[in-house]
Structures are given as C-alpha cells and as structure tokens.
C-alpha cells in the first residue's frame, strides 16, 4: 500500500490566501516585480503590489507545466541551461498566459542579488520587454565575514530605493513603513515557530508541508496575513502532537533537505520517504526566511541592510555549513538529502565541500526545481535507497 501524505488543513487556507493574492494583482494600480530575497517591506509601505516571479515559477513547477512554459522561452533562444524559473516565467510572457492567467505588467522591477546574480540578468530581460526600469539592490557576497562597508553599501542603496519609489509614487510614509516592519517581524516569528515544530519527535510536519505553506511568508511578509495564518498552522500542529498524530507513521529517520524542492515531484518524494519511515523534518530553503529583524534598533533601514545581507544564499561555504550544522542540531537529524539543482548554481556549487563539513551523513541527488525533463527517477531512487540503507546501520 502506498503511504499517503497527510495533508494539513491549513494548506487549504493557504490556497485561498494565495488565490486572493494573485487576484489582487489584477486590480492593483502600482505593481513591482520583486525577487524572493529582497526587502518587500518598502513595497508594502507604499501600497505597491509585489509580484513574485519565483513563486510563479514554483507554481508552474508544482502544476507540472515547467517544460511546457519553458519551451516558449527556449523557442526564442533562451538556453535550456538557464534557470528554469526564469525560463518558465519568460515563457509565460511570450505565451501570454500561465496557470494564473499571466502576471501583471511591472511598473518597475526590484532585483536583489543576495540570492543569485541570475535575477539581475532575468530582470534585465523582463525590463527590456516591458520597457520598465530595474532597480538593483547590489549586495556584497559574505564569503567569510560581514564587513561594515558591506552594510554601509547596502544601506545607502536602500535610501536610493526610497528615492526611486518616491519619484514614482510620492512621499514615503515612514509610519506606515514601521507598521509594515512590525508585521513582517511578527509574521517571521510565527512562521519560525511553525518550522520549529519539526523538532518534536515524531515530527508533526515534513519539509513538504513547509514547502507547500511557505508562499505567504515570501509574498505577503509585512501584511497582516502571515501572523494569523502561521499562528493557525501552529495550532493545528499542536493539535497533531496532542492527538499523537505524526507526519510520518512510525518515524524512524529524521532527515534534512537542502536546496529548493523538486516542485513537480513533491508527492513522489513525500511518499518515497514516508514508505521508508523517514521524515524530512526540516530544510535549508524554508528556513532561509526565518531571519529576524532587530527592529528595536533605532534605525530600521540599517537593520534591514544587515538582515538582507546575511541570508543563507549570500554566505560562503563555511558559514553555510555552520548553519546547516545548526539545523542538524536543532532538529536532531540523522542525515541530509542534498538536491543538486541544475537551475540554481549558487545554491548547488559547493555542495560537495559542504558534505565534508557537516556533522551527519549526506547524499547528493541531481535534479531541477521545475524542469522535469532532467529528472531521472531511477537514478534518484537508487541513490536515496542506498542512502537510507546506510542510515539503518
């Protein structure tokens, strides 16, 4: 009998929230496209609707339409070796449709390269198509340590960004901005509490639940929705624990996932691990949004500069390995499954070195987050099977 993923009720609520989010985009008057690691707080403070092409890419991946939409971009000369989120989203622009009927046109694009330099190139392409300006928030890479000059640099650009927004939309409302920041911190706190539920043995949730329910913290951070939604989700997980319900029946192994999920194979992975009594209790991806701003600081802009410079993907290998070891410790995991993601070079290059730096055994599987054409089920299955066997001994 195939083990079935135990869906959380909150996931239904999440779908409604995200449907609402996408519908809102159709009526929005002020629209900015934004990367997943950028400080969205500025946009919400100015009542600008933030469009997340990466979330849209994930949605296309999860609906298994990655190759279909990517092909529209590939026909126009965009190489199959480029990031599949970018290919899918560009493909939707050319196809003039998507699973959510396309994304609204940007007035401007806000790219922050603290997650990759891919987004800079991708947004340049979109900017040329729509003749919209691209504001780049250029974040120095923290290979070893954060230099004070890095924070100064990012901070100065945040002020430039305010000026950029004010030129378009009028005065920046500082009191509104502070309210947004407060909601952002609250949302992140509630979200973090949800992820930390994975510490419980057996765990009431898997990283697949986390993947499915991460969209609100990414897209709606700074609004009143995440604090409410994640508190609700936390209550459901508390109930599970109280009623003795675990995400994986008879949890025997606790595993950490590294990298973006394989969106078009979520159920397959989930069931594969479930059948083997392995629970993926946490992942490095959803945990990347748990950085807490210190808003008690007098200067919130400085705090934002620090927070957005220190995110997971913007760190050197030693620091990344340190964080992974922190997660291994927090969630008490037995092993790590590392997704070598063809579409995400900064997330994937260095993984072989990271394997040597972390405290538990690990395995690398080759895949892509949205492009199912490069996924080899038998290869991945063999690797994972062998890995789980090693955990038994």
């Amino acid at each position: 009998m195939v083990a079935k993923m135990r869906r959380l009720d909150a996931t239904k609520r999440m779908r409604e929230i995200m449907l609402g989010y996408y519908l809102q985009g159709r009526q929005a008057e002020k629209i900015g496209w934004i990367t997943s690691g950028a400080p969205v707080e500025f946009l919400y403070a100015m009542d600008i609707y933030p469009v997340y092409p990466e979330n849209h890419g994930a949605l296309i991946g999860a609906s298994k339409q990655g190759p279909h939409f990517a092909s529209f971009a590939e026909e126009r000369g965009f190489s199959q070796d480029l990031c599949s989120y970018a290919r899918c989203d560009l493909g939707c622009i050319f196809a003039e449709t998507s699973p959510v009927d396309g994304l609204p046109r940007p007035d401007f694009l806000f790219a922050c390269n603290n997650i990759c330099n891919t987004v800079v190139k991708w947004y340049e392409v979109v900017g040329r198509i729509f003749k919209s300006p691209v504001f780049l928030l250029d974040v120095p890479f923290v290979r070893k340590e954060v230099k004070e000059s890095y924070i100064d640099y990012v901070e100065a650009q945040l002020y430039d960004f305010i000026t950029f927004l004010e030129k378009r939309y009028g005065e920046f409302d500082e009191s509104k901005f502070r309210k947004v920041l407060k909601l952002s911190v609250e949302g992140v706190e509630r979200y973090r509490e949800v992820l930390l539920m994975g510490r419980h043995k057996p765990s009431p949730l898997t990283c697949f639940d986390a993947f499915l329910n991460m969209a609100p913290i990414v897209c709606l951070r700074g609004t009143s929705i995440p604090p409410i939604f994640y508190a609700e989700l936390k209550r459901e997980l508390d109930d599970r624990i109280r009623n003795g319900i675990s995400a994986v029946e008879d949890e025997r192994y606790r595993i950490l996932w590294d990298n973006i999920p394989v969106w078009y194979r979520m159920r397959w992975f989930s069931e594969f691990f479930m059948e083997r009594k392995a629970c993926l209790v946490a992942d490095t991806y959803t945990n990347a949004w748990t950085a807490l701003l210190d808003v008690s600081k007098r200067d919130p802009i400085r705090a934002l500069a620090e927070t957005y410079t220190g995110i997971h993907l913007n760190l050197g290998i030693d620091l990344v390995a340190e964080r992974i070891n922190g997660l291994i410790d927090t969630f008490d995991v037995d092993g790590v499954v590392i997704h070598s993601n063809r579409s995400c070079k900064p997330y994937s290059f260095g993984q072989y070195e990271i394997q040597r730096l972390i405290d538990v055994p690990s395995v690398v599987i080759e895949a892509d987050m949205t492009d199912s054409r490069v996924f080899s089920e038998s290869q991945v299955e063999n690797r994972l099977e062998a890995f789980i066997e090693t955990l038994q001994t």
Binding site: R76, G77, F78, S79, D81, L82, C83, A86, N113, C116, N117, T118, V120, K121, W122, E124, V125, R128, V134, L136, D138, P140, F141, R143, K147, S149, Y150, D152, Y153, A156, Q157, D160, G316, I317, D318, S340, R342, K345, P346, S348, F349, G350, Q351, Y352, E353, R356, E366
Partner: protein
C-alpha cells in the same frame, strides 16, 4: 623587487586590478582552463558549471598551478562559489574582491574601499608596503601596455600576445607588443568580411585562427581578447599625484572597462556598446561558453537587435575540450551565407 617577482598571484576575472598585484611585487597570472577533459574536478564541482570554472579547478587539482594566492573578483555566481571550493582544496591563499555588480557613480566609493582592502591584503601577502611610486609606476606600465595592445589590434589582432599579457611580466610583453606593432604598422589590416566575435573566455588560439582562416576579419569582444585591455581611462596617468588619487583612478578605470554581462549598467550600457561596435561589421559570432548564464541571458535580445540592424549571427557554444574541426564546418558555412 625582482626576488618577489617570482611569486605569482592568480586571478580569473579581468575586472581584477592587476596594477595592485604588480605594485606589491607579485606577478599577476590569469588562470585559464586548458583544452583537456575534466576528471578530478568532477567530485568538487557539478557538470553544469562552465568549462572555464571546471577546467581551472582541474588544473589546480592536477598540481599544474604554482601560485602563492588567488584573487576571486565578484562577477558570476560560479566564480563566487569557486573561491571557497578552491580554498578547501589547496594551500593557496584565497581572497575575494567584492566588485560591485551595479556600475554607477553612486557605487564607486564602495568599490574604492574594496580596493583599499585589496591593497592591504597584497601588502600583507608580500610583506611590503605599496608606496606611491610603486603604485603609479604599475598603473603607468599597465596603461601603456593596454594602449599598445589597442593600437596593435587596430592594425592587426594578435591573440597570442594578448594571452601572454594576461600571464607574463607586463614590461616584457610591452616590449614585444611594441615590436609587433612596428612590424605591422602601415601594413594593411586583413581584408575579408568583418565579423564581431563576442563572448566570454576563449583561451585557444585555434578558434580565432579558424574564424580568420574562413576569411573573416575579426574584431572581438572577448574576455580573453580586447576586453582584457579595453578601458576608457578617466584621466591621464601623469596627473596622479597621491596614493588616494591612484586608488580613485583605478576604481574609475575598472568601472570604465569594456562592459561585461555580469555587470548591471545604466541605460543598458552593454547593449548600446555592442550595437555600436557592430555597426560596421558584416556579421556577429556569439562565442559563448556552455552554462554561462550572464551571456546566455543577453543572447536572445542582443541577437534580435543585431538582426534588426541587418546583421547575420551565429551562435557557437563552447565546452572544453573543443574540437576545432567541428567548429570549422559551421564557421565556413556561416561565411558562405554572407
């Protein structure tokens, strides 16, 4: 000074200010992949990284590189990660220079601060201070070398000497370049159809030879070609008076380097630069390294704009080892279509 000159400092990206390395008494040596298959690097870097990254790492792991240290200059995601992989697998010192991605007046000060940090690092590595004299001498030497190469390329492209300039002593290459220049000066530039060859790294002379052999007269926008020495210098080097002047000069000079797709420019600077350069050519060859995201993102829209100008284009995707014979047919066929 000469005793330390034996020590070499490697760099991969041409946005690395060699002037500071040379001024510290080191010889800057560009690390380039060889035309050989990769085996050792496979357990350190995935196969979906470009040949330049994998091939350079392969050379390190094979023990082919005798370097005291390596400077990784922020350009693409691959090199950013390669710095750590490199450090984990060698005894060399590794330093990362955070060159801004965003090239604007407003980001210049940050870069200048980074250059001061690089200067201190070079001083620490060499155990000697970089004084005003050393710095100015180095800046002038490179400036003269770059201008000579530019003049030489206008008369007759010479890909062998530009490769040499990336790894040999600049004073010696300067002499050689001057000799070459006096040999070719006045002689007519090769005729034939003009082609702009644009792309990233192509350290194999066979390929530019192939293009020339097919009958093309080449102007290039390659990182191993003219982009290595093309700068719009901000002011005359003789006006540099102090160390701070010199640092300011270097910061501005590297901001005014021939544009690269890893950088973000105002008003789509790279596109306008290339479209301008393509005005008088008959065709454009994109010589791109497989998996090079920055170039491949620019490619479709650039191609479209070039075609709108009436230029024919050809895309050659490189993965090392390359077999020149396979490329020959495609280049010759392309020539025929013109």
């Amino acid at each position: 000074m000469e005793a330390v000159r034996g020590k070499k400092i490697g760099y991969l990206c041409t946005f690395t200010p060699k002037e500071l390395i040379w001024a510290a008494g080191f010889l800057p040596v560009r690390i380039l992949a060889k035309n050989q298959p990769v085996s050792l690097a496979n357990s350190h870097l995935q196969t979906y990284s470009c040949s330049q990254a994998r091939g350079s790492l392969e050379r390190l792991l094979k023990g082919e590189l005798d370097l005291a240290g390596v400077i990784f200059t922020r350009s693409c995601d691959t090199l950013m990660r390669l710095a750590d992989v490199w450090e984990k697998n060698s005894a060399m010192r590794v330093y990362n220079l955070e060159f801004p991605t965003k090239i604007r007046d407003s980001t210049l000060d940050f870069f200048k601060r980074e250059l001061y940090d690089l200067k201190s690092t070079m001083e620490e590595w060499s155990g000697r201070r970089i004084g005003r004299e050393e710095l100015i001498t180095s800046i002038r030497l490179y400036g003269e070398l770059e201008r000579t190469l530019k003049e030489l390329f206008e008369a007759q492209p010479d890909y062998e000497i530009v490769l040499k300039a990336q790894s040999h002593k600049p004073d010696e290459v300067l002499k050689e370049a001057k000799n070459r220049l006096s040999e070719v000066r006045g002689s007519e530039r090769d005729r034939g159809r003009k082609v702009l060859v644009t792309g990233s790294v192509c350290p194999f002379l066979e390929i530019t030879d192939l293009i020339a052999d097919a009958g093309f007269s080449i102007i290039d926008d390659l990182c191993t070609g003219t982009r290595f020495f093309t700068f719009e210098t901000p002011k005359n080097e003789s006006e540099i008076a102090s160390i701070d002047d010199a640092m300011e000069f270097l910061a501005r000079k590297y901001f005014l380097k021939a544009p690269c797709p890893t950088k973000n420019y105002e008003n789509d600077g790279r596109f306008s630069y290339l479209l301008e350069r393509a005005k008088d050519v008959d065709a454009v060859i994109f010589l791109l390294m497989k998996f090079c995201e920055p170039h491949f993102f620019d490619y479709p829209q650039l191609k479209e704009k070039l075609e709108a100008m009436g230029k024919k284009t050809l895309l050659l995707e490189l993965e090392f080892p390359v077999s020149p014979e396979q490329l020959r047919t495609r280049i010759e066929a392309f020539y025929e279509t013109l």
